[in-house]
Each structure stands twice: as C-alpha cells, then as structure tokens.
Amino acid sequence: MAKASKNKQAELVPVKVKINGVDYSRDVEPRLLLVHFIRDVAELTGTHVGCETSNCGACTVVLNGRSVKSCTMFAVQADGAKIETIEGLAKNGELHPIQNAFWENHGLQCGFCTPGMIMQAYWFLKENPNPTDDQIRMALAGNLCRCTGYQNIVKSVKAAAKEMRS
C-alpha cells in the first residue's frame, strides 16, 4: 500500500493556467479532466458538466482562442493556456452583449446549457461576425438544449452579432 501511495504522489503533474485573467496552479493527476480543474480547483462552477461524452457542449470553454469541450480534454493538456469561461464575459458589472441578447430574446429556459451556448457563440462570432441563421445553427450543432427548441437561441446569437458589429 505504501508503494501505491508513493506512486500516486509521483504521478501528479503541475498544471498552471490563466482563467479569465487569473492564474491558477495545482499539481493534479494526469487523468483529471479540464472541466473538473475549472470547477473544482478554480472553483468556477459556471462551466457545466452535462453528458460527459462530448455530445452536449455544456462544458464548452474557449482555450487559447478556440472553443473546446472541456470534458474531453485533460487538464494537463491545458498547462500554460489561457482559458475563458462564462464568468469572464461580464465586465464591470455589465453583461456581455451575448449574455444580454440571451436575456432579451429569452434564449434560455432552465439555463443549464447556456454557459456552453454562450461560450460557443462567443468563439463563433469572432470567426464570423455576420452569420446567417444556418451558419449559427451549424456553429451550435455541438450544443444541446432540451428546453427552448433552439429558435430563441439562434435569435439571441443573431441579435448579439448585430449589437457587436455596431
């Protein structure tokens, strides 16, 4: 048993990331998923764990400028990375235009998928600031919502795009 626990100690790897501009570092097991680092180590619980099988997109964060599903990545892979999560969007108490558009357009009901939806939209609108409805739907294909039927989410992203272009 002593040997096992010693091995366990030796297995830890250092992970240092910047999440929403704040540094977090911790020695973790290599098998720790990024989403658990964000939720349990950084204690940023806005990023949700949904399906755990990279289908639902609730765990979407933006890592070094690209959206990823943080349940399908090891925290150690993100060592040295800059990560943006839903908590980083509002500035000085002002909602981000995408958050505001979801509010205004009723782009959510239960809200569970919303952090993932918004982070995916946040990445996508940087790629394509003036998207068509179809392009929005394709961009959000990896984010599941069981409440809204997506109509108001698409509307929200479209409204946010318009607001952000002006």
């Binding site: 098998r31 990279s54 959206s67 399908t72 990445w123 294909a141 990896g142 984010n143």
Partner: protein, 292 residues
C-alpha cells in the same frame, strides 16, 4: 467518468516522442486531438498506461502546396483544413470533408493525423484521402517512409503504423484543371458518425471524358474502402447520366456494409451507397465543369 490512471509525457520533438514509444511499446498511446482516444479512455474501452501527448511538438500544423501535392501536417485541426485557403484552391473536397466531421468544438481539437491513425471505418478522412489517392508519411527513430492510404488503412482500428512510428504528414496530389470533388454524407442528426458517406473525386478532359476517378466509402465496410469497380466504370467514358448510374450500382457492389443497430441494416447501407455515390458524382461533375 474518469479514465484509469496513466503516466503522461509531453515531448517537444518527434525524436523524443519516438524514443518514448520505443521505451513503452504497446503500453503507450499517442494523444493528438483526443476526440476518439479520450472518450475511449473515459468509457474504459481502452486504458493505456502511458500517454504521449504530441501537442507540444511544433511544426506539425500546416496545409501547403509542395511540388504537385498538397501536404497537411498530422496535427492540423479539422477546422484549420475546413477554412484553409490552400485547400479551398487546390483540393476543395478536403474543406467539405472537414466540415462534416463531428461538431465545431470537435473540429477545433480533432486532427487529420489522429483521425487516420485511429482508422475508424466511420471516420471521414480515410474516404477522401482514398478518393484523392493520397499517402501518409510515417516516422520512426530510424527512418521515415511513405505509405499509400490504401495500404495504410488495414482494418477496423488497425493501420500499418508500427509501435514506434508516428504519422507526421498527409499528402494528396493536386487535381488538374477540370476536376471536381464532393464529400456527401448521410447522418441521423448533425454531428453524428456517418450512416454512410462517399468521397468522389473526378477529372475530365476537354471533351468531357473522365480521365481520373477516385471513390472512397465511409461506414461501408471494416475500414474506409476504395470503390474500385465504380472507379473502373467511369474512367475513359463521358460521364452521362447512364454512366453515373452504372458506377453508382458498382459502388454498391464494392461496399461491404455490416449491420449497425443504430444506423441501419447492411441492405439499407448498400442502397444508400448507391444513392450517395450518384449524388456525389453528379455534384463532382458539376464542379469539374465550373459549377459550385
């Protein structure tokens, strides 16, 4: 869901990665985008003791012309290929194929080299690289070799990769003028694995006679397959509706579908092989003639 424990390495050079492979042999697994490997580990379908993460090795993400070919670094993300200007100009079927893979987040992480090395018969890249008659570059501690895609894909989840080899580059010949390609896919819902998909690449001469045909099949056998009979039914003939019909029937014969409890019987898939080959050919011909 938590994978079993493993030891993690993040080499910064191919040489270092190769020597880790040599040291740990079949207990080690290479991690590229992780879009298949990590779910496999989380579901504990596979539990490698050592993970060699390739993502810290620089210089493996590119799409560029080299001689008469387009070469793609193994770590190039699907999204980078989808949006690559060089691919759009030289072999647009690559962009179309990439756009059909998984969802946007998966395409941001997943890599062409990882996908091909996984050799999932439902994977999209194999069919398209078959249609383009491409090859892959494999690097071991002692040598580098180039293998044709048909020889590289051996079986379900099995390739020609040796334990100490890494796929470093994919290369496809740039099609001549009057060429067209299409990747057409039937899926149950957006982002699903293919029920069937077909990659078609053709070239025509000035009179409209087919001078090149490449057809790759997805989810229609134990691996991505070449539809050889269908290709033979096209080359040397003008691509009339009748010829396309014959080639599509031949593609159904070329297919070796296995029943899939989620995505349809073998009979259904064979029917769809014909339908999608026809659609792919019609689109490819239109594009070869300058249409979209």
């Amino acid at each position: 869901m938590v994978p079993r424990k493993f030891e993690y390495f993040a080499p910064t050079t191919l040489k270092e990665a190769n020597s880790l492979q040599k040291k740990y042999g079949s207990d080690a697994k290479l991690l590229a985008g992780g879009m298949s490997l990590i779910p496999v580990m989380k579901l504990r379908l596979g539990s490698p003791s050592y993970i060699i993460d390739l993502n810290r090795i620089s210089g493996l993400e590119y799409v560029k012309p080299a001689g008469g070919s387009l070469v793609i670094g193994a770590l190039t993300r699907h999204h980078a290929i989808e949006t690559s200007k060089a691919a759009r100009e030289k072999a647009p079927i690559l962009c179309e194929t990439a756009s059909w893979i998984g969802d946007a987040q998966v395409r941001n992480m997943g890599t062409i080299g990882g996908s091909l090395s996984h050799s999932d018969p439902s994977g999209d890249w194999g069919a398209t690289v078959i249609a383009l008659r491409g090859s892959v570059k494999l690097r071991s501690p002692s040598k580098e070799r180039t293998v044709k895609i048909d020889d590289f894909l051996v079986d379900t989840f099995a390739t020609d990769l040796k334990e100490d080899e890494i796929l470093t580059e994919v290369s496809v010949p740039i099609p001549p003028p009057r060429s067209g390609g299409a990747y057409v896919k039937l899926e149950r819902r957006s982002g699903d694995f293919a029920t069937v998909a077909v990659a078609v690449q053709i070239s025509l001469d000035a009179k409209g006679v087919c001078t090149y045909a490449g057809i790759g099949l997805t989810a229609l056998g134990n691996k991505n397959l070449r539809a050889s009979k269908a290709e033979a039914a096209l080359v040397g003939r003008p691509l009339t509706a009748k010829v396309i019909e014959e080639a599509s029937e031949a593609a159904a014969e070329d297919s070796q579908p296995m029943p899939d409890p989620l995505r349809g019987s073998a009979e259904y898939k064979r029917e769809m092989a014909q339908v999608y080959t026809k659609r792919g050919l019609e689109l490819a011909v239109k594009r070869a003639k300058g249409g979209k």
